[in-house]
Amino acid sequence: MTLYSRRTTLRAIGLAAALLAGAGSMAVIAQDTGDRTSVKIGYAISKTGANAGGAGITTLPNYQLWVHEVNGAGGLEMPDGSRLPIEVIEYDDRSASEEVVRAIERLATQDNVDFILPPWGTGFNLAAAPLFDRFGYPQLAVSAVTDKAPEFAARWSKSFWMLGGGHDYTEALADILTDQHEAGTINNDVAVISVADGFGIDLITAARQSFADAGINLVYDVTYPVGTTDFTPMLNEAAASGADTFVAFSYPPDTFALTQQAQVAAYNPKVLYMGVGVGFPVYAANNGDKIEGIMSLGGIDITNEAVMEYRARHTEFIGQAPDWWGSVITYNSLQMLEEAIKRRGLDREAVAEELSNGTFETVLGEVKLEDNQLRTLWFGGQWQDGNFVAVAPSDREGAVAPRLPKAPWPAQ
């Protein structure tokens, strides 16, 4: 070692120590004492990176809308009737799970927030779940579709799963297809493509089971990688398979591309069912009348005035309409949190218990969780006359009969 590099080394160590000391002192910030003037609510959300597109539709706008409305009313109501305004602490997780984990640790131990709102996406909600649990925060996971929800709810007692599992959606779809087949509208063959990512895999795995149980033939079944832009080969193969039903468990960019490319290829399945994105406002705006008859997950009971009024408020405040699937559920979860705080105060343990056992009046009507899961959901919807209306489960009040077969694309 030369004299020179040793100097460098020593300086390096000195600098490192200084930086670490800096990091250390950051960690020891005094906890807030005295009378509280606000309720701190924090969240980490994907503002940049691959997940920003989804988070920016289903999750973030609803957080913003809710905070805006609550603070407009004077703040969150406490059990004693007083109101405390919400102070938001927001981080960008940059679509990286390590960032989600650290942001939640920061919110819990550094910012000492009162409540943490969940991140966007199945994977991130799962990555965050052990932390919510360890720090004792209730987790109202909305944008997470997983068949393991019952297992997770049991493992992490303060976690709540609001969007059902893959099999809920595929069984609802299988029911519709069986009905239509029995009515003679369609044949019994289905062509399915699915995106090779969490959502697509979860749904196709469930669909294989649901379709087999219902006696439906899966005649074409492939997965495609995230980022695929040209679906023509798959559409051609699906058309050649002779199936009357085409199902795509797709992500938004894929859904948009599929819609365009199916028109170009003049591919007209009698049932056209696609994944995330069908309910996005931009989808309706871009495709006009052509969306009539297209089916997807979710749906809205348009006779429910509270929901329609929520949609109007959302459109006015955010500048764009909410999507027709997850958005209203996100908003509903925030209303539940608001109400639980009103009943039990800021004690997280008590709030979690209230969320678990209480009955709430929200935008969706009367809501009560079963084993920490929201089960009163719409599992299938269809575009009818400019609204994405709920069609399944068909025995639930507010369901509309599906209009099938879907009309062919308008002539070009």
């Binding site: 994907s46 503002k47 940049t48 990176g49 691959a50 920003a52 597109g53 988070a55 920016g56 539709i57 679509s95 493509i193 090779a196 492939v222 997965t223 495609y224 990688p225 980022g227 695929t228 832009t229 040209d230 023509t232 080969p233 798959m234 051609n236 193969e237 938004p252 960019p253 948009f256 591309a257 365009q260 490319q261 028109q263 170009v264 290829a265 003049a266 994105g277 996005f280 931009v282 871009n286 495709n287 764009q320 070009q412």
Partner: protein, 290 residues
């Protein structure tokens, strides 16, 4: 089979269009431009805005977007890259410096887009009508992108091989150190090539905006696809980029049709790695290695 080939060619047209600008920038200006895809997406947003607010159709929009892109590229090279190039004459670190600097530029442009346009998926429909080509329905907008790729490729190829200016550019691509000896102003030519590359990126962005969903965070996807094609075709080789792009489109479509759509991207990279190992300087490259 014909259907597969035609679909593949048209898909490849998009790839080639995206890649040609990058091959100009890297091959001639020696700038490894990681912000390439961001410029492309920015142009896509511009086309979208022109179309949705002013009702200007994207093809006319090109007349507005392209000159702006050229000017932007010219400016960026002058302000950011020139000092790096000047410095690297001594230290020879242009490669690393340009990676770092354009990596920064990537974040800046992306950040600006996030603030201005938000993070949502954006798409609009334009010319999404089927045109029958030899019995296969092809979207008119994709066909247009394909035609544009071939026209740009052919024009630039002609310019590069038949004109004095083209010879100048190729001389720089082959040997930037020797070019000044024969009286070539390397700096000016490199700056021009960089701006031209930026313009090509923008034209790709406008085309893609017609048929592909995009958002502010997607630029890097295009950068990487373009890089793969550029390397496969040989650095600075426009014809190479065109052929490699088309080839990639055909391979992806073949794999999606006859093997498994799940393996299309894997096949892309496999093909790319194979080409690289077999001919390290690309399918059409001449110089070995660096």
């Amino acid at each position: 089979m014909i259907t597969t080939l035609i679909t593949g060619l048209v898909l490849g047209g998009t790839y080639a269009l995206v890649a040609m600008g990058l091959t100009l920038q890297y091959g001639i200006s020696r700038i490894m431009n990681l912000a390439y895809g961001e410029i492309l997406i920015f142009a896509a947003f511009a086309a979208f805005l022109l179309f949705s607010t002013l009702g200007i159709n994207p093809i006319l929009g090109l007349a507005i977007v392209l000159p702006l892109a050229f000017a932007f590229g010219y400016l960026i090279y002058g302000v950011m890259m020139q000092p790096l190039v000047a410095r690297s004459k001594k230290s020879g670190t242009l490669e690393v410096d340009s990676i770092l600097a354009t990596f920064g530029l990537l974040f800046v442009i992306q950040g600006v887009m996030l603030v201005v346009f938000g993070s949502n998926y954006t798409s609009y429909n334009f010319l999404n009508t089927g045109i029958n080509v030899l019995g296969t329905n092809i979207a008119a907008n994709r066909l247009l992108a394909f035609a544009l790729a071939v026209i740009i490729g052919a024009t630039l190829f002609y310019v590069l091989t038949r004109t004095r200016w083209g010879t100048t550019i190729r001389a720089i691509a082959v040997n930037p150190d020797a070019a000044p000896l024969v009286g070539i102003d390397v700096n000016r030519t490199a700056r021009f090539a960089f701006a031209l590359g930026t313009m090509l990126a923008a034209s790709g962005g406008v085309m893609i905006s017609m048929y592909q969903t995009f958002n502010a965070s997607m630029g890097v996807v295009f950068t990487m696809k373009a890089l793969v094609i550029v390397i496969m075709g040989g650095l600075g080789n426009l014809m190479g980029a065109l052929v490699a792009g088309l080839l990639l489109g055909i391979v992806e479509t073949l794999v999606a049709t006859h093997v498994d759509p799940g393996l299309t991207l894997a096949a892309t990279y496999l093909l790319f790695l194979g080409v690289l190992l077999w001919k390290p300087s690309g399918l059409f490259g001449k110089a070995a290695g660096r």
